[in-house]
Amino acid sequence: MSKIHVNATVNGDAVEYLCEPDESLLDSLRDRLGLTGSKEGCGTGDCGACSVVLDGRLVCSCLVLGAEADGRAIETIEGLADGDELHPLQQKFLEHAALQCGICTPGFLVAAKALLDKNPDPDETEIRYWLAGNLCRCTGYDKIVRAVMDTAEEMRR
């Protein structure tokens, strides 16, 4: 199996890597680029822990081939903060205790940011359905949803 040469943009930086043809983008990000913030909870698109934004669309990186990223732009959890300055969602997740173990947190943050980019004023139901593809087993979702609502409110101000 010969490897595929991929040129992509990750969090604004040009990157290149060699991947196997059947390798997921998640594995390429983690094993080739050292970006381990995206997590594998299932590998089948059911948990959202590997959520990234691919050319502006929220996707599960476990359901994208590493090879498909050639020529495309990817945003991951590692690119959410602006240098030392946290994204308001990150700050609110901390303040609201919206994480316990933290394994699902990168996926939730990436997904929640995609929501607020599209809809700056989501109601609770919209938030819950948008985030239905992100499993959290610790929090019961309560504090996560509150953190997203609070962020949206703050960002609208």
């Binding site: 959410l80 609201h96 205790a97």
Partner: protein, 754 residues
């Protein structure tokens, strides 16, 4: 140590506040390193070959072709591991751990590990698995409790005779052990009853459902030293188990607990760590082993499934006259399910004159069960709380009042023996009764249920250290992995004890080489036990600092007091000195006797049981059987909430796990004995849109055994939901629900009068 009278009304400066957790930043930026996030130079990737059969004799394993594949560096079978000795801190029998980690002679369940491969890439490892020839003789299997205890069942363990039976059985069976607890005379109690409830309840197995699959990186060095990095609730436990199975000295194995992506009890034992370590020993390179999600479902440790017969009698005045339960739990293909804990918890919430519970430990062809949040209690409570609900209705008494009338309190003798010290069950019931939720109206097709729950809390061997740094900050090390924010709690307790700001205290989880033994994060013990150790270590550091101040001032050590972060002369006789802050003393440490630290190694006791009451409103769609939880409230005694946000988080998370278990989660085995839903798609855990906000109320009845009054809160929240939701649905439908999960087909059948 403080006494209860000292602390019940105490206001604290840091304890009870809600600061940002110390590990938070790394977790919101993707920097936190979990089990699968570590890489080592020259690292190999390992995969495990698993049995496709529920029960089969392994006639032969031919690994020749796999070993010959380019890139394969080691292939492992059960002969590479040995029966361990010396791991007596493990609750599980080491022979069973060994047998579960890698099948020996027989595959006992679908997914049982049979062989493992380490190779230069994951895809080569996967290819190599296909080249391993295993010859099986398929044997008859049984995965269901009631079938397993039937006389004609295939016997899974030919050498297993039911223990603690009189007389001893004369032939082997699938029942490992019988146990019984209770007091009084239940027959006399039932005689006095005006109303009797009697019914069989069943629950299907649930999985903890942590989002992070088991993962580890093991590196065995040529000099016999080794390191393991893994996600676990107990790295000292991992060290004991791995050292035993590989015949290593404990001090040669260093285990580091990574950040852990959820455990809920499921990471209190070993599955893959000994395999990775043995592979590493075989090929001399670091080996990374990460389970796929289907392996997590098939071959880690779900809960037992259960059958519970319950009989409860009460008189017209609402006094329970007798309670009886008989419970059968299957713990997979190994003896040692949590039947003891389930049996003990069944009636723990109630002060009964006559009570008896009998437990049966059953083996079936399923994976070895592990702990899951209050292990055993939810199944027992489901039956008992359903029975109480039915009785309250028939007596014509409010279900909260009925429970209040019979609730355990200080001095009540628990069904499992001891007398309770001060507990807060009644306070949670009173709070439920007064809550807005309980007094709100219901809509059409809705029903309301309430239920109570109990969990013991564990203590155990615990260690902590605190160093006072030269700059006046403090570093706490504990040995209990942080699964839900415990580092924040340790920092708060240390800050409170030392009298310095929370921001000046850090906490890390020390690896096994850096701190004396600490028992696993389980049994709701961490905030209690490691918290106590942190407080005592801090007090020991304070003693040292008082000594340093005494030295500087030239007065006796016992003439120095510590208050609000300062050493002070204890009175006018001690002399007139300006109080010295922790930072002042720390700065001079090297001139006054060296570095300053405090330690605590102890056996934690004096745990405070935590009781809770839940209120659930469920709405059904009578045409489809779909259930929606429209409102849910958790009220629980925390003793003292160190960080209230994370206490609420425990309440909310446990409740939602309970909602999932009650409604949709289940292990589904086919006729062939294979697990049919080994993935998140069909093992239906609640998603965000399934649940409402979970309302919480923290009741604080301090535990006199803890310096701040802490009761462990992690587990009780999953005990009441099955009963609360079962009761809510039973009212919405008008039929008693007795089988978990109460999935749409079951609800629709009940609606249709089936």
């Amino acid at each position: 140590m403080n006494k209860i009278d000292d602390i019940s009304g105490t206001e604290y400066k840091y304890v009870g506040s809600r600061p940002v957790r110390p590990d938070g930043l790394d977790k919101v930026t993707g920097k936190a390193q979990f089990g699968a996030d570590l890489y080592a130079p020259g690292m190999l990737f390992a995969k495990i070959l698993r049995s496709p059969h529920a029960h089969a004799r392994i006639l032969s394993i031919d690994t020749g072709k796999a070993e010959a594949l380019d890139g394969v560096k080691a292939v492992l079978t059960s002969t590479d591991l040995q029966p361990g000795e010396g791991a007596d801190d493990l609750e599980d029998d080491m022979d069973h751990v060994l047998e579960n980690v890698m099948a020996r002679g027989k595959a006992l369940y679908d997914g049982h590990a049979v062989a493992a491969v380490a190779a230069t890439s994951a895809s080569i490892a996967r290819k190599a698995l296909k080249l391993i020839d295993v010859e099986y003789e398929v044997l008859p299997h049984v995965t269901d409790i009631e079938k397993a205890i039937a006389p004609d069942a295939p016997v899974i363990r030919e050498d297993m005779y039911t223990q603690d039976m009189d007389p001893k059985p004369d032939k082997p069976s699938n029942i490992a052990r019988r146990m019984e607890i209770g007091h009084g005379d239940i027959e006399a109690g039932f005689e006095k009853a005006d109303f009797i409830f009697e019914r069989r309840f069943r629950t299907e197995a649930a999985h903890q459902g942590y989002i992070e699959p088991h993962a580890c990186l093991a590196d065995y060095r040529s000099d016999g030293h080794a390191e393991i990095w893994c996600c676990t609730q107990g790295h000292f436990m991992v060290r004991s188990a791995c050292a035993a199975l590989l015949g290593m000295e404990l001090s040669k194995l260093r285990v580091t607990a990574s950040e852990i992506g959820g455990g809920f009890g499921g990471k209190t034992t070993v599955f893959i760590e000994p395999v990775a370590l043995a592979l590493s020993r075989k090929c001399g390179r670091p080996v990374k082993l990460v389970m796929d999600r289907d392996e997590v479902f098939r071959a880690s440790g779900p809960t037992p499934s259960s059958v519970v017969d319950v009989k409860i009698g009460a008189n017209k005045d609402g006094v329970i006259t007798a309670g009886f339960a008989e419970l059968w739990f299957q713990g997979g293909a190994f003896p040692g399910s949590v039947i003891d804990l389930g049996t003990m918890c069944a009636f723990a919430c109630y002060d009964l004159e006559n009570v008896k519970a009998i437990g049966w430990d059953v083996v079936v062809n399923r994976p070895k069960s592990a702990a899951y949040r209050a292990p055993g209690a939810p199944m027992a409570a489901f039956a008992v709380e359903s029975g109480l609900d039915d009785l309250a209705e028939r007596i014509g008494i409010d279900p909260v009042d009925f429970r209040l009338k019979n609730a355990a309190e200080e001095g009540s003798t628990a069904a499992f023996g001891p007398k309770f010290r001060r507990i807060g069950l009644k306070e949670t019931l009173e709070a439920a009764k007064a809550s807005d939720h309980y007094n709100s109206p219901l809509g059409p097709n809705q029903g309301r249920g309430i239920a109570c729950g109990f969990w013991f809390n564990f203590g155990g061997t615990t260690s902590a250290s605190i160093k006072i740094e030269l700059d006046g900050t403090a570093m706490v090390t504990v040995g209990t992995p942080d699964i839900g924010g415990s580092r924040a709690s340790m920092c708060l307790m240390a800050a409170e004890t030392l009298g310095i700001p929370y921001e000046n205290v850090r906490c890390v989880i020390a690896d096994t080489s850096l701190l004396p033994y600490s028992a696993t994060t389980e049994g709701s013990r961490t905030t209690h036990s490691s918290g106590m150790a942190t407080v005592y270590a801090s007090e020991n550091a304070i003693k040292v600092m008082c000594g340093r101040a005494a030295k500087i001032w030239g007065i006796p050590e016992d003439a120095v007091d510590w208050k609000d972060g300062h050493a002070r002369p204890s009175g006018a006789n001690a002399g007139e000195f300006e109080p010295m802050s922790l930072a002042d003393i720390a700065k001079k440490a090297h001139e006054t006797g060296g570095a300053i630290a405090g330690h605590c190694e102890f056996e934690a006791g004096k745990v405070g049981q935590s009781f809770g009451t839940h209120i659930a409103d469920a709405e059904i769609d009578p045409e489809t059987g779909f259930t929606k939880i429209v409102r849910y409230t958790v009220i629980q005694d925390a003793g003292r909430a160190i960080h209230p946000s994370y206490v609420e988080g425990q309440y909310q998370g446990g409740a939602v796990q309970g909602i999932g278990w009650a409604l949709n989660e289940e292990y589904i085995y086919g006729e062939d004995g294979r697990l049919q839903n080994a993935g998140f798609l069909d093992y239906r855990m609640p998603v965000c849109s399934d649940v409402p906000m979970i309302e919480t109320e923290i009741v604080e009845v301090p535990n006199a055994g803890h310096p701040f009054g802490v009761r462990g809160v992690g587990e009780t929240p999953i005990v009441p939901p099955l009963g609360a939701i079962g009761n809510a649905l039973s009212h919405a439908i008008g039929t008693r629900m007795d089988t978990i999960p109460m999935s749409p087909p079951r609800v629709l059948e009940a609606v249709s009068g089936g």
